[in-house]
């Protein structure tokens, strides 16, 4: 009786043991999911956002800094017994908003129910204060602090640019894979240009927490934690006082002001008018304000000093004069008769000036003749090919001033302007022949010539330096007491000898002393300048003025464009003069001139 039963019983015992071992083998060795699930349970990865580099002006006044900002993050799998009504009450949200927040969170690229995902971004400090006491009522929701951007000034917006959450398309095109959705990135201005320097390095901490979400120290004693590395500070060449004064003067007008320290190429003032307060494009206000600002018909986001391409107008006569001297086609004593209307009109009481006088009085027919001598040197008998050769020669001088190409400022979206070349005219005339009589308006900076205000300021600095320029740049130190980017220490020489610059400078002194720009005259300082009035028929001319001062060892070179405000001698020269006075003497005494500028509304 009962034979074999003891074996059967033992087989059952062993069989169960084997089944367990097989099942255990599957869940412990083969299936790797459980490891991740356990890590997701117990390890709470927390990003430590680095503080973005600060931005200072040349006197180490703080311009851009960081303010604490608080995001609410959610780990969906930890959300238990979510009380929507209570959540709405604490966070002052409506039910549809909460629903939308959940939907948006799940739509995020990096969303996972086991990992923290941004649920509400950018609580203000006040919101944080009211909410933080109640966070324990909402398991699965955490507040993460990071820093947002703020600016100490309402000015300089177009140079600073702004910082905002990285866009979907930027994220897709980010080959470095550094950014994640929700990260901030510089979107324009130096915030964008120096993004890599400013952003610093993100840190990561892995914290352990128990089933209630209570932190239980660091994972593996912090072996995998990385500290965040703060971004590098930038010192700009901007003089914040001068910048604010310049914006004050340009208020109510469209245009741009660029002031440069000639010896270093550092930009002292960079104004695009009209502008906006850079603080409008920070934090939670960003998206609303961005819509408003970008819809503004006056285009405050349009960075005029770099992007507005104007004809240079009479200012270009300085470059023409020096090029002609360098080519040897005129001498300072060369005179041309001002036969008005044939083919060019002129203005002012003069009739037969030499080179200096022609610049001082901005004589158009004089420069018509100068250009003819430069372009038609009679190297061939055919007027068409002679013009072609002459124009190409002329191009090579003009382009050495930095016209017709990007200067390479440390800001995005710089436009090139235009110096017409033979190839350009071939395209313009669609292969039909052209000669001097087709192109002479470029003699006085009209016609096809285009420059951006930055190039004009750089031109003023080049003249001030008697022959070279250093590429204009905003940032003069990367890291406090650091160096600028290497390309901003290099001198670019023009093809003009410095003795010819002296002749131009004589003329520019005369312009201010007794020529078209006597408004720009200062009491104890020799100012050199040149007016321009860019034609815009039927609207009023753009008022243009470039200048530098003092004549010897110049400290500031400036270009001012005021749109639709008439002759350069008025708005532009007055503004330039006031700014030079402010920068060089530290104060403005000529309040009558200030009143004159402020009274002029040209929009």
């Amino acid at each position: 009786m009962n034979e074999g039963r003891k074996e059967i019983v033992q087989v059952v015992f062993v069989l169960i043991g084997i089944i367990f071992l097989i099942k255990l083998f599957f869940i412990q060795v083969i299936d790797s999911r459980y490891k991740d699930l356990a890590d997701g349970n117990a390890i709470l990865p927390q990003v430590e956002y680095p503080s973005r580099g600060l931005i200072y002006d040349r006197n180490h006044k703080l311009i851009a800094y960081n303010t604490p900002e608080f995001d609410v993050e959610c780990i969906l799998q930890d959300v238990k017994k979510f009380d929507t009504a209570r959540f709405c009450e604490v966070f002052k949200m409506g039910r549809p908003e909460v629903r939308k927040a959940f939907k948006d969170m799940k739509a995020r690229k990096e969303y996972s129910r086991f990992k923290p995902t941004v649920f509400i971004d950018q609580l203000s400090t006040l919101e944080y204060a009211t909410v933080s006491d109640h966070m324990d009522e909402f398991p699965g929701f955490y507040i993460v602090a990071r820093t947002g951007r703020a600016y100490s000034t309402a000015s300089l917006a177009n140079a600073l640019g702004y910082v905002s959450e990285i866009s979907k398309s930027q994220l897709e095109h980010d080959s470095t894979k550094i950014y994640k959705q929700g990260d901030y990135i510089g979107q324009s201005g130096i915030e964008a240009y120096y993004e890599e320097v400013l952003r610093g390095q993100r840190g990561m901490r892995f914290k352990l927490r128990n089933v209630k979400g209570v932190e239980k120290g660091s994972w593996n004693n912090g072996a995998y934690d990385t500290l965040s590395v703060p971004g590098t500070d930038l010192v700009t060449g901007i003089d914040l006082d001068l910048q604010q004064y310049a914006e004050f003067l340009l208020n109510g007008k469209a245009g741009s002001i660029v002031a440069i320290e000639p010896s270093s190429g550092e930009i002292l003032t960079f104004v695009s008018g009209p502008s906006y307060d850079p603080n409008q494009l920070t934090g939670r206000k960003y998206s609303n304000n961005f819509k408003l600002i970008s819809a503004d018909t006056m285009k405050p986001l349009f960075n005029r000093p770099l992007m507005a391409q104007y004809r240079p107008g009479s200012i270009f006569k300085i470059a023409q004069a020096m090029t002609a001297l360098q080519m040897g086609v005129v001498k300072p004593e060369t005179r041309f008769f001002c036969d008005r209307g044939n083919p060019m009109n002129c203005h002012g009481p003069h009739s037969n000036e030499d080179l200096r006088g022609a610049i001082a009085n901005s004589c158009n027919p004089y420069f018509y003749n100068v250009l003819r001598r430069m372009v038609n040197k009679g190297k061939t008998n055919d007027p068409f090919s002679d013009t072609r050769v002459g124009l190409a020669d002329w191009n090579s001088y003009i382009e050495s001033f930095g016209f017709g190409g990007k200067l390479g400022i440390d800001l995005p979206n710089e436009k090139t302007g235009l110096v017409p070349t033979p190839a350009y005219y071939d395209r313009a005339y669609r292969g039909r022949p052209w000669k001097f009589s087709n192109i002479y308006s470029i003699a006085i900076g009209e016609g096809e010539n285009l420059v951006v205000p930055l190039q004009m300021a750089n031109f003023a600095a080049t003249v001030a330096n008697r022959g070279y320029y250093i590429t204009p740049h905003i940032v003069k130190e990367i890291g406090k007491n650091g160096k600028p980017l290497p390309q901003y220490t290099e001198k670019h020489y023009t093809r003009i000898d410095s003795k010819n610059f002296d002749i131009a400078i004589d003329a520019m002194e005369a312009v201010v002393d007794h020529g078209t720009a006597t408004r720009a005259r200062m009491a104890d300082m020799i100012v050199c300048g040149k007016t321009g009035s860019v034609q815009n028929e039927p609207r009023p001319d753009h008022s243009v003025f470039i200048a530098f001062a003092p004549r010897d060892n110049p400290k500031i070179a400036i270009s001012v464009y005021v749109e639709f405000s008439g002759q350069g001698a008025r708005a532009a020269a007055s503004i330039a003069s006031l700014l030079m006075e402010k920068y060089l003497t530290g104060q403005v005494k000529r309040t009558y001139l200030e009143q004159y500028v402020l009274a002029g509304k040209f929009l």
Partner: protein
């Protein structure tokens, strides 16, 4: 003559089965280390022996169990057989008392409190029942094929099961079903076991298969094939036909049972077994977190005291019912292999000891010990890895708690005492 006067070599350890003692000691030690690991907190790390911790208290329980071992070894072996029915009677009486004067712990009213000290009478009912069944089967002239004897045996396990169910302790009640294996070994027809197993399998199938119609068709097809394959006598066809109808009715009634007769938390525990994600935050939480804990251990484990699932309370009851999670998480597959291997070795050793007994009382008792250990081992580990519904029963020697530890110690060492003195027993096997 309570004390054992007849020990041949005058040593209480004489003739004791050292391999079993070794396995017992090994499992006890591992259990104790794991209890320390469960509550270990780096920030407030306390000594193994700190009495404010579970591991400190477990050390006291272990000390007490060693005293129990000593007492068992010095008591005359004949004492246990003699007083088996008395012990059983006392156990049943105490079980009756529990619902009346017991205190409620965690929803189960299964504790008897004496001051701050509490014991679980249901734990001690196990060895009492084992002794009584062994005595009954070992009695002179006992025949398993006698229906009256079988009825008495079912009564002997039915009474404690019923009383324990009154305490809502479903897990411990289930353990007593293991005695069916003992009955089988001692000659009971396997019919009940087979029918029981088939019923359980069908029960699970009904829950798994979304539409009961498929199952009914399956039953019909299988019955038809069986009828067609054998002799086609009227009687045979009738028997199988009736069996088919009963099975079909069982399938139909299962749905009713699941949805109406079972308590909601039992129902969801069974459903969770099939699909843990059906109730992730509720009943499924335990199984899911338990599997995560064990599964995340990998092959070599996270290292002693380094389990995150257990230490940070993701696994519930991790000191008691889910202690195996700590082993799986911190020691990995190697640890699982060791623990499963040691348990199977212990159970087989107990079977081996049972088979070498010279009287039926000792052999039956030995099988009862093996089957009770087996039930605890199979149900406990089965539930932590999702092969068995979650019913709260301890893993022998590992789970924190005095009552269970003492109960298992008593069970095992009475057998070792009987085994050590088996030479003094007259052969009266049949």
């Amino acid at each position: 003559m309570l004390l054992d006067q007849n020990r041949g070599d005058q040593r209480i350890t004489g003739n004791i089965d050292w391999p079993t003692v070794g396995l017992f000691a090994l499992l006890l030690m591992m259990g104790w280390l794991n209890i320390y690991a469960v509550v270990y907190d780096e920030a407030t790390a306390k000594s193994f022996f700190d009495l404010s911790t579970n591991s400190g208290r477990q050390m006291i329980f272990i000390g007490a169990s060693l005293i129990i071992v000593f007492i068992i070894m010095v008591v005359d072996m004949r004492f246990y057989e003699t007083v088996a029915y008395v012990i059983f009677g006392v156990a049943v009486f105490v079980l009756v008392l529990v619902p009346i004067i017991g205190k409620e712990v965690g929803g189960n009213k299964s504790w008897l409190g004496i001051g701050s000290f509490g014991v679980q009478p249901s734990e001690f009912a196990k060895f009492a029942t084992a002794l009584a069944i062994a005595k009954f089967i070992g009695s002179v002239g006992f025949r398993m094929d006698n229906m009256r004897n079988q009825a008495i045996l079912f009564g002997m396990i039915g009474v404690p099961i019923g009383l324990i169910l009154l305490q809502k302790d479903f897990g411990t009640a289930l353990v007593f079903v293991a005695f069916l294996l003992v009955f089988y070994r001692e000659g009971m027809s396997p019919f009940l076991l087979v029918v029981g197993t088939c019923a359980a399998a069908l029960f699970i199938l009904t829950l798994v298969v979304p539409n009961r119609l498929y199952l009914e068709i399956g039953v019909f097809v299988i019955i038809t094939i069986i009828i067609l394959m054998g002799k086609k006598t009227i009687r045979r066809i009738l028997i199988f036909g009736i069996a088919g109808v009963i099975i079909a009715g069982f399938v139909e009634s299962t749905d009713y049972i699941v949805n109406n007769a079972l308590k909601p938390h039992h129902r969801s525990r069974i459903k969770v077994l099939i699909d843990p994600s059906s109730d992730l935050k509720g009943e499924g939480w335990n199984v899911t977190q338990s599997k995560i804990a064990i599964g995340s251990g990998g092959f070599i484990g996270k290292g002693y005291l380094r389990g995150t699932q257990t230490k940070f309370d993701f696994v519930p009851k991790q000191s008691t019912d889910f202690i195996f999670c700590t082993i799986g998480e911190e020691w990995g597959y190697i640890g699982s292999l060791a623990v499963v291997g040691l348990f199977v070795a212990l159970i087989l050793r107990v079977v081996h000891i049972a088979e070498r007994q010279k009287n039926r009382f000792a052999r039956t008792y030995g099988y009862s010990v093996a089957c009770l250990f087996f039930a605890h081992f199979a149900i406990n580990i089965g539930m932590t890895i999702g092969l068995f519904p979650v019913v709260g029963i301890p893993l022998p020697f590992f789970s924190y708690g005095g009552s269970a530890l003492w109960s298992f110690t008593i069970l095992l060492f009475i057998l070792l005492k009987l085994d050590a003195n088996r030479g003094q027993v007259l052969q009266r096997m049949n």
